[in-house]
């Protein structure tokens, strides 16, 4: 007798500890966003991970890969540049595994992110907000160079980052759907797009389009003296992408509100940007499944007022690092 394929993996199960419970997130259709019959838009709810973001997968992979390589010893200090979610995930995992964590964080992120880091026991060093994540990376690299006892996973250049998605997120998607016409995710470190892109192209060939949604940095955050001060995460391979589309902070916030209002989905602002691009891609299709990643929920952004205040009152949209 043929066994019917189990399509709905429960977002539950039993695990030995919280680190083991990472992943196996739900894939939820958002029927109101679909532009036409036959085109289905699906949200992969990474906010269901233990610390509330997709970065739990990455942080686990970074640390466990380092342990397997012998690069990380018990009780060692870990250092990482992050605009929040990776730091929070690392803080939880390092606390579970007995490592001390220091994160370098732009000073203009929402206060909830700093609070969560400290609650999980991480030390926070602020970098200049005007330099955005570029500034955090720069400062962390300087600190790591000055003290060799620190281990820096360096999510921007560590293949364990996309590996977490190649082996986790993307595999789940291929189990949750028979076919995927487009996969849309935010471009930050590049890990989600590179890891999922590789696996999905291996599974569906060129029938699947890999689409990056990226934040358009506001002018206060650009703050560079010259274009040579720019930064491209080493793990990014543009040839894996079929489209790369920027979204302004204002548009990201408006679409995030739309997700909440119309679909009941309380997502972080990067997800509004990604969803906006997903809908645009869906409009270009005649049929098929469009999957987009909801990297985190909205809890960490409540104090910013992006869900409740009129847009014209949000004076620091462009000066804030949202993603």
């Amino acid at each position: 007798m043929a066994v019917e394929r189990l399509r709905n993996k429960p977002c539950g199960g039993r695990y030995g500890d919280i680190v083991q419970s990472i992943g196996n997130t739900p894939l939820v259709e958002l029927p109101g966003l679909s532009p036409k019959p036959g085109v289905h838009i699906w949200a992969k709810l990474e906010g269901c991970n233990p610390t509330g973001s997709v970065k739990d997968r990455v942080a686990r992979a970074l640390i466990e890969d380092a342990e397997e390589q012998g690069a990380l010893s018990p009780g060692q200090r870990v250092l990482e540049p992050t605009s929040g979610n990776t730091g929070i995930a690392l803080a939880m995992i390092c606390a579970r595994k007995g490592y001390r964590l220091t994160v370098v964080l732009p000073d203009n992120v929402t206060p909830e992110r700093k609070q969560l880091l400290e609650m999980y026991g991480a030390e926070v060093i602020a970098s200049e907000g005007a330099k955005g994540s570029n500034g955090a990376v720069e400062k962390a690299l300087e600190l790591a160079a000055s003290d060799s006892s620190w281990y820096m996973p360096y999510q921007y250049g560590n293949q364990a980052n996309p590996g977490a998605h190649y082996n986790g997120t993307a595999v789940e998607i291929t189990e949750q759907l028979d076919d995927v016409a487009a996969f849309v995710a935010g471009l930050g470190t590049g890990g989600t797009l590179m890891g999922c892109g590789r696996r999905l192209k291996e599974t569906y060939s060129d029938a699947v389009k890999i689409v990056a949604a990226e934040p358009m940095p506001g002018e206060p955050v650009q703050g560079l003296r010259s274009l040579d001060e720019g930064f491209i995460p080493p793990i990014i391979d543009l040839s894996l992408l079929d489209r790369k589309i920027f979204v302004t902070n204002a548009d990201a916030i408006l679409f995030t509100r739309k997700l909440l209002r119309e679909e009941g989905l309380f997502a972080g602002p990067s997800s509004g940007a990604v969803a906006r691009v997903a809908v645009r891609i869906a409009e270009e299709l005649d049929e098929g499944n469009v999957v987009f990643v909801v990297a985190d929920d909205g809890w960490k952004y409540l104090s910013s007022g992006i869900y409740t205040r009129p847009l014209e009152e949000l004076t620091d949209i462009d000066a804030t690092v949202w993603w």
Binding site: P233, I245, W323
Partner: protein
Amino acid sequence: MAKIKIPPVLRASVGGEREVSAGGENVGAVLAELVSAHPATGEQLFSADGELNRYVNVYLNDEDVRVLEGLDTPVGEADTLVILPAMAGGR
């Protein structure tokens, strides 16, 4: 003529303007006209071999041209090129 949005880091090279116009059938031609009108932008935008500086992203409206046809990406009269520095994404 297409519009070109100039990032803060390049505005001094174009006389302080946030937006300039330039003609051309593709991205390469439009940027060449920009450099011709404002030579100081040349070494910021392009490397010695004529390729876009790796830390420069150019968007046709809102799409990165490197993932389209690069400098050969066609540009229409109603299009806007947006030049942005490559920035590390968050997380």
